[in-house]
Amino acid sequence: MATLRRSLAQGICAFALLVPSALLAQEDKDSTAAAIEMYREMLADGNPAELHELRGEELWTTPRGPKNASLEKCDLGLGPGKVQGAYAQLPRYFPDTDKVEDLESRLVTCMTTLQGFDREEVTKKPYGSISYQADMEALAAYVVGQSRGLPMAVPQKHPKEKEAYAIGKEIFYYRAGPYDFACATCHGEDGKRIRLQDLPNLTEKKGAQFAYTTWPAYRVSQGELRTMQWRLWDCFRQQRFPEPKYISDATIALTTFLAVNANGAKYDGPAIKR
């Protein structure tokens, strides 16, 4: 059991992916790869993320907060209350905040403006654990589930959307820290892996599409639904960087870079991953 505890604690690494065999590049599809593929296929039918979607919908429709309002009038970019397809077009520029916002940032905006929650309060513990259900993860699961099957179409019209992409790209290649890592160190080439975990090449359309469209995801290693903000946060941890602030402009810019690179692909989350 000590082994199990260790593997539970540490099984959190980079963009572990349900990479289809075609993406395993030139590498031979050996027996290890075939076994891992079978593992992923067996997990795919039965994704506990559905439980989070259910809870997220409940949170979305329940009047809460000092203003006793639901989130049903929240504008995720397609107009107040329109959830279907909204995630496939995020991050985007919002005139009311004069900012490019990703899903989680926008949810916080709605929770503060519509429901009257305190911003500090709702962003204090965005990530859940076995003893704590994070509302943000459930809400994210619900909203992204409403874009399943729709093509990614993240806008690049507004100058701030273009700027976010350009800045996000520079962050992606930024090398620093005691390990000299950038995002590009692990995610800049095809067919690479860390231990047995495949690494999508995020500088290339196919890899970016596959990765982005399968987040958020239920991580079996953690038993949690994890969001895109969590994904970046934990990558930066492994990159040995300082800690990025939740829904900060830097993380939104990086998300914009990844999301725009995924444009055209069919959104397929929330997924289930190791």
């Binding site: 539970l8 039965g46 259910l54 076995i130 003893s131 079996v220």
Partner: protein
Amino acid sequence: MANPMKIRAKLEGDVANVRVLMSHPMETGQRKNAAGELVPMHFIKDIRAELNGKPVFEAAISQAVSRNPVFAFKVKGAKAGDKLSITWEDNRGDKRTDTVELGGA
């Protein structure tokens, strides 16, 4: 209070292919919390499925079943309109029942 289950039941002839997702920590009793204390065991022990109120499938399980359990099983002699309910009970006596009505084929 326990979160709802997610039950999917697909009819194939007179067989209902059932898949159920349950929300439960399934604590092994061997994990330590942030303070370094062992978290007590907390897991689903018994599961029962009933078709129109009649038991059709039962399980007795341990903490070794994964967190947020997923089960699939097949119930014979089912038809559209039947009610399939699933109940779990954990080692603390907490229970939860959810019911679905079987749809057309």
